[in-house]
């Protein structure tokens, strides 16, 4: 069977149209160019740092090379972000459920705004608060943790006197990524088809049983995507960690001790202002590694989000 040939009259090309579509196209392509430039310039400046003669790099400790320098930092970055995610995820799901299914309808939107306010607080303010308020307030509970749970390697101690430890930094990070995870989870929870919810309730389910059997399975991809985006933010977060954590390039699992690992981003922020010569390239190289890690995490998150086109992480 042949379909009748469709005659598409060619639209008249006006100069205004051409200028407009060309400038839109150029702007779009500029995004590609900028991203390529970010990767390109980081590589151009970073790769010499990776292969620099260890003798000439003054920020290495004696006999260290680039791999030995960067592995503890990668560990610290992943460790801090993972801890923050473990703390933030259950809390974020709880808050999202509270706003979407528990709070009175009229209050719900306002409560959502309040959580969004957390996202608006600049990271340097979080750092100031974490170092001056939280660290001091939480230090006594570290003493308690060491006395009572000291047999767990995570709380082995000896306890840091200032409270500026990995656990404190992870709590600050958790607070910072909470709004992202909450926002995306809330959005998917609200998209649960009401008919399913009503069907579950009509069959005699309590509210929790309805949530467990309908809302959570429906929202799972969204929650996972939100968690990955939160993880991406925690990996790249700089100032809060740099100000709260008193760390160095070591691999330590103890959460409350005075010796703590440092993250890539915080290390760059602390060392960059005084860095000179080849040290700058070494620090840029660590930034390149951070860029690669967050790229992978965010791509996975976007892949999960885009499988469900109905919602997106940016809104």
């Amino acid at each position: 069977m042949t379909s009748p040939e469709i005659i598409r009259p060619k639209a008249k090309q006006r100069p205004g149209d051409r200028v407009f579509s060309a400038s839109a196209l150029i702007s779009g392509s500029l995004i590609l160019a900028i991203l390529a430039a970010v990767a390109g310039f980081l590589m151009l400046q970073g790769i010499p740092g990776m292969f620099a003669d260890p003798e000439s790099v003054s920020i290495y400790t004696e006999g260290e090379n680039f791999v030995e320098f960067v592995v503890p930092l990668i560990f610290g970055t992943l460790w801090a972000a993972a801890l923050a995610l473990v703390m933030a995820l259950p809390l974020a799901i709880g808050i999202a459920l509270f706003i979407s299914h528990y709070a009175p309808r009229r209050l719900a939107q306002g409560l959502g705004y309040i959580i969004d306010l957390l996202a608006a607080v600049p990271s340097v303010v979080f750092g100031l608060w974490g170092a001056n308020v939280l660290a001091g307030a939480i230090q006594p509970s570290f003493v308690w943790l060491e006395e009572n749970l000291g047999w767990i390697p995570l709380f082995a101690g000896p306890v840091s006197g200032t409270g500026r430890t990995m656990l404190t930094a992870a709590i600050v990070l958790a607070v910072m990524i909470l709004p992202i995870i909450t926002a995306i989870s809330r959005e998917v929870f609200l998209q649960t088809p009401p008919l399913y919810e009503e069907a579950a309730l009509a069959l005699g389910a309590t509210r929790w049983e309805m949530i467990r059997t309908v809302v959570l399975p429906f929202g799972r991809p969204g929650v996972i995507a939100g968690a990955m985006l939160g993880l991406g933010r925690a990996l790249g977060e700089t100032m809060a960690v740099a100000m709260v954590l008193s760390g160095s390039g070591v691999i330590v699992f103890d959460l409350i001790g005075s010796v703590n690992p440092l993250t890539i981003a915080a290390n760059v922020a602390l060392r960059f202002p005084e860095a000179y010569g080849i040290n700058v390239n070494v620090l840029i190289a660590t930034g390149l590694i951070l860029f690669a890690i967050t790229l992978v995490v965010n791509s996975i998150a976007r892949y999960i989000v885009n499988r469900r086109k109905d919602f997106s992480g940016a809104n």
Partner: protein, 361 residues
């Protein structure tokens, strides 16, 4: 005469039998908090400490509530409803726990920061200031200049990109741009700073730190936010409006300019304001790219430029021997920063509400 009819039993409503009254959870909460307060008050008297441990009292009161409500409900209502009440308590608790840092943060910043909010703070720089005095005017000007330039660059590019994605883009290039905008959203802020530094080092020589470089870093962070928000808004413009315009013979570019954008302008403005609010608090990229300074600098192409977030950071880490004025300045800077961000956020929401197009229906 004695009546043989026994007085009627209180009617049992089968729908509410075996259920706790609505006020019961609140009663349990109040009781649990009272009991915990009493225990901690006794402990305080016993140990002779001065401060009442309010955190401990509230904490154990709430934990007691969660356990009690579960037990009581299990005894009266059965295990399924008990679990439901348990989860309700936990979910409510999660929200309260999340509020604690926000309340503590806002409270501390206002309490500590308001001391140095005076005329000096907004008119003086830190030039030749040791110890007390000085201000943050140079940092505020730097922030305004760098954020302003970043806005001037990223708004036209971002808006045109979103127009491309919504009105023109089909096929592979549009898909690639959408994906890469998402990727760009996830660039860590410090990486953007390193990029700007690397870029300007190649152009202007090693170790260059200028305001323009900071603005470039902020642009990288701001552009994807502008694109995403305006794209979402442009997609909300009803297709009927476009089709009506085409049907009247209006060319596509005029349709976009005179129909689509005016309809979406409130949403676009909101998105731009929110993206400014996002980048105005960025510290790490400016620390890397623009450096820090104690002096006024109005020239984006020459010399280091201070910004408000970096000012807060430096006041905190480079405390002198007499550290109190430095800490005070850091808190005052933080308060100013939070105030700016909150005002931008509120203004954005107001704009969205007031100027939202009235589409009818």
């Amino acid at each position: 005469m004695v009546s043989t009819v026994s007085p009627p039993q209180a009617a049992v409503n089968p729908l509410t039998a075996g259920r706790l009254p609505a006020a019961a959870p609140w009663g349990i909460l109040a009781g649990s908090l009272l009991a915990s307060t009493a225990v901690f008050a006794l402990l305080q008297v016993g140990s002779g400490e001065e401060d009442f441990n309010i955190v401990g009292a509230v904490f154990f009161g709430v934990v007691g509530y969660v356990l009690l409500v579960y037990i009581v409900s299990r005894l009266i209502e059965g295990s399924r409803r008990a679990k439901d009440r348990f989860v309700t308590a936990l979910v409510g608790l999660a929200f309260v726990v999340a509020m604690l840092p926000l309340i503590s943060l806002v409270f501390t910043v206002v309490a500590q920061g308001s001391g140095r909010i005076d005329l000096d703070f907004f008119t003086l720089s830190l030039r030749n200031v040791l110890g007390e005095g000085g201000g943050a005017a140079h940092a505020i000007i730097g922030t305004l200049l760098m954020t302003g330039v970043a806005t001037l660059i990223s708004v036209p590019i971002g808006l045109l990109t979103s127009i491309y994605l919504v009105e023109y883009g089909r096929g592979r290039l549009a898909q690639a741009i959408t994906f890469l905008v998402d990727v760009m959203t996830g660039i860590p802020s410090i990486v953007a700073g390193l990029f700007a530094f690397a870029l300007f080092e190649l152009i202007l020589g090693p170790g260059t730190r200028v305001g323009l470089s900071g603005a470039a870093a902020l642009t990288v962070l701001m552009l994807p936010v502008v694109v995403r928000s305006s794209e979402d808004i442009l997609r909300l413009v009803p297709n009927e409006l476009r089709e009506a315009s085409y049907a009247l013979g209006v060319p596509k570019w005029l349709t976009i300019l005179k129909v689509v954008i005016p309809t979406a302008i409130a949403g676009i403005a909101t998105g731009v304001m929110l993206s400014i609010a996002r980048v105005i608090g960025e510290t790490a990229p400016l620390l890397i790219a623009a450096g820090f300074s104690n002096n006024f600098n109005f020239d984006l192409t020459e010399g280091r430029m201070q910004s408000l977030p970096v000012y807060v950071y430096y006041s905190y880490i480079s405390q002198g021997t007499d550290f109190q004025p430095y800490i005070d300045r850091a808190w005052a800077g933080a308060l100013t920063l939070i105030a700016i961000v909150m005002i931008l956020n509120l203004a954005a929401r107001l704009v969205a509400r007031i100027f939202a197009p009235k589409l009818g229906r």
